[in-house]
């Protein structure tokens, strides 16, 4: 079974504040393993380093130290090796409005990776594009292939982005908050699509989110990050139902929960009544 493993990943950014330069450790010693057919969720508040981890895995950033291993082999960072890696590991970005180039059609967005990775050539490209569109439930495919990003809704765009990530035939998908920019009513649809693809195609998915509920339900394992550190990691239900670390507990306490309606109001009233 193939795995994508990160080991002791560290990322430091040089930040310049006027003349003084300092380093900011955005990711500090993060390790976890992603296996085919499984989903790992990374949760944590804003700025905790989630995206940085994702970008390092997608090779958009170079780790300061630490290793990324694909099938137990250190990954290549340039040339053929990089292309091979990209072939296997793809990414879906947070903002579907920003991750599609407004100047290009859907077809362009999907055809390019197909061609780049030699998945389809010449006459086969268009059918392959249609195939991808159908896989992400965008039918009729020829209609969607013609469209430009601004002619589609957010959910549809995010589906295109997912299709693009699937185009090279990737086995691992890094999804950085794939639904946080979408309207509540369509979030689940996109997540369900991801879950289905993961099941059907035996994908390994790194699901980055700050929504604990979906993290729990859509992943097998949860990694909780806090200021660059992993503070807790384990099977989803265990982390959510039996949090160990204080930070995880705070996070859980802060998450809104429909079933606990009126809770905050009552808490405050109780507090005020008490003191």
């Amino acid at each position: 079974m193939s795995t994508l493993e990160v080991r002791n990943l560290v990322k430091e950014f040089k930040v310049r504040d006027g003349l003084r330069r300092s380093t900011l450790r955005a990711v500090n010693d993060v390790s976890f393993t992603l296996s085919a057919g499984r989903t790992v969720a990374v949760v944590g508040e804003s700025g905790s380093g989630k995206s940085t981890v994702a970008r390092m895995i997608a090779q958009l950033e170079t780790p300061t130290s630490g290793e990324i291993l694909l099938d137990d082999a250190a990954i290549g960072r340039r040339g053929r090796a990089l292309a091979d890696y990209r072939h296997q590991v793809q990414m879906v970005f947070q903002d579907p409005f920003a991750s599609l180039n407004p100047y290009h059609s859907v077809e362009h967005h999907l055809a390019r990776p197909l061609k780049l990775h030699g998945v389809a050539r010449g006459k086969d490209v268009l059918p392959a594009v249609y195939g991808l569109l159908e896989r992400v439930n965008l039918t009729p495919a020829p209609v969607f292939a013609e469209k430009r990003p601004h002619e589609m809704s957010g959910g549809q765009r995010q589906r295109i982005a997912i299709a693009r990530a699937l185009a090279p035939g990737a086995r691992f998908l890094v999804a950085d908050e794939p639904v946080s920019m979408l309207d509540v009513s369509i979030r689940l649809g996109v997540l369900n699509l991801l879950a289905r693809l993961q099941r059907e195609e035996n994908l390994g998915v790194l699901y980055i989110t700050h929504d604990l509920a979906t993290a729990r339900h859509f992943s097998d394992e949860i990694v909780v990050m806090y200021r660059g550190d992993v503070v807790e990691q384990g099977p989803s239900d265990e982390v959510i139902l039996d949090p160990q670390h204080d930070y995880t507990k705070t996070l859980l306490a802060a998450a809104p929960e429909p079933s606990r309606h009126g809770r905050l109001r009552d808490e405050v009233r109780a507090e005020l009544a008490a003191g």
């Binding site: 990209r86 180039n101 390019r112 780049l116 990003p149 601004h150 809704s153």
Partner: protein, 346 residues
């Protein structure tokens, strides 16, 4: 009540209509040219003038006499055969104007192109790369930005012994780029961080292709605007240099025409037909290019169009009594209920 008719269209718009993409990156839907130009008065006027001038430059010389033919009487006022009169040497002003249009446009376009190429180099490359390259290029840009252009041009051209049209255009272009470079750099910087650039990288695209295919198209409106701006500046710059006697030698441009008109005492001799047209042509072309820039600005920042348009439509609606609120900014004050009743009646 013409506007009521337009509102009979079904107005139950799906509220969940997709929000439009951020303005800088959106592209108008592909409609016919006519459709796209509708409501773009400034663009239409601007393009119209520019096209007219370009046509004048291209075809004009075939219909006018040789601009260097001195066989006419000197200083003729406008008359049939010499619609804009003649110069002190007996040259036909209209013919010179047409030939000058070629010269000036050529200076403008060459300088504009050079400025754009340089600003792309200094702006986009600096914006897209990081570290030393960026620092270095930006520094050069900033320094060039600060060093005053015309004086530099004057100094450089005064050292040149032969100034062809082309050389003058090159000088103008070489001093006109820093402003655009700064803008392009900022833009490229922000584009570099766009997710679709990252996405293209993850897809395995190479840097040159990313620059050309993903980034450049998004810079097009700005590039066009900067180009047009550089053209205006170059044409004005050429005129200024020519006035100082540092213009291109041996060619006819609107600038050299003005210089000759000035040297020939056109104004004091009452030969307005010699002095006024070249200046007006420059202003007209500049104005037209600015008008086009206006529309480009509105593409880049749709607020520029939508906000005034919104204000206009609301005033229209108010005049039609479609607003029940009371306004203190000049709109007719009417009681809420009256307006409301009227609205309901409709």
């Amino acid at each position: 009540m013409t506007d009521t008719r337009t509102r009979t269209a079904p107005s139950s718009v799906p509220p969940s209509a997709p929000p439009t993409a951020p303005a800088t990156t959106s592209k108008p839907p592909r409609r016919g040219l006519r459709g796209r130009l509708a409501g773009q008065g400034k663009l239409v006027v601007g393009l119209g003038i520019v096209i007219a001038i370009v046509l004048f430059a291209i075809v004009g010389p075939f219909f006018t006499q040789d601009p260097r033919d001195s066989d006419n009487a000197a200083m003729l006022p406008p008359q049939p055969g010499h619609w804009l009169g003649t110069t002190s040497l007996g040259y036909d002003v209209l013919a010179q104007l047409a030939e000058g249009a070629r010269g000036s446009l050529m200076v403008g376009v060459v300088a504009g192109l050079l400025a754009i190429v340089l600003s792309l180099l200094f702006g986009v490359v600096a914006g897209y790369t990081r570290g030393i390259a960026d620092e270095g290029l930006s520094l050069i840009t900033n320094v060039m930005l600060v060093i005053p252009g015309l004086p530099l041009m004057i100094v450089v051209s005064s050292y040149l012994e032969v100034r062809s049209l082309f050389v003058v255009a090159l000088i103008l272009g070489a001093t006109a780029w820093p402003g655009s470079a700064v803008i392009l750099r900022l833009q490229a910087r922000s584009l570099r961080k766009r997710d679709y650039v990252s996405a293209a990288k993850v897809s395995g695209e190479r840097t040159p292709r990313i620059l050309m295919v993903e980034i450049l198209p998004n810079l097009l409106p700005i590039l066009t605007a900067q180009f047009l701006f550089a053209v205006i500046l170059a044409i004005l710059g050429e005129a200024g240099l020519s006035y100082l006697g540092l213009g291109p030698n041996g060619s006819i441009t609107w600038g050299t025409m003005l210089n000759e008109a000035q040297g020939g005492g056109a104004l004091t001799r009452g030969a307005w037909w010699w002095f006024i047209p070249p200046g007006l042509m420059i202003a007209l072309l500049g104005c037209a290019l600015s008008l086009i820039n206006f529309s480009i600005d509105e593409v880049i920042d749709p607020k520029l169009r939508s906000a005034p348009a919104a204000a206009k439509s609301v005033r229209k609606a108010r005049r039609a009594g479609l607003d029940v609120t009371v306004h203190d900014d000049g709109a007719p004050v009417r009681s809420g209920t009256d307006a409301q009743k009227e609205a309901v009646r409709r």
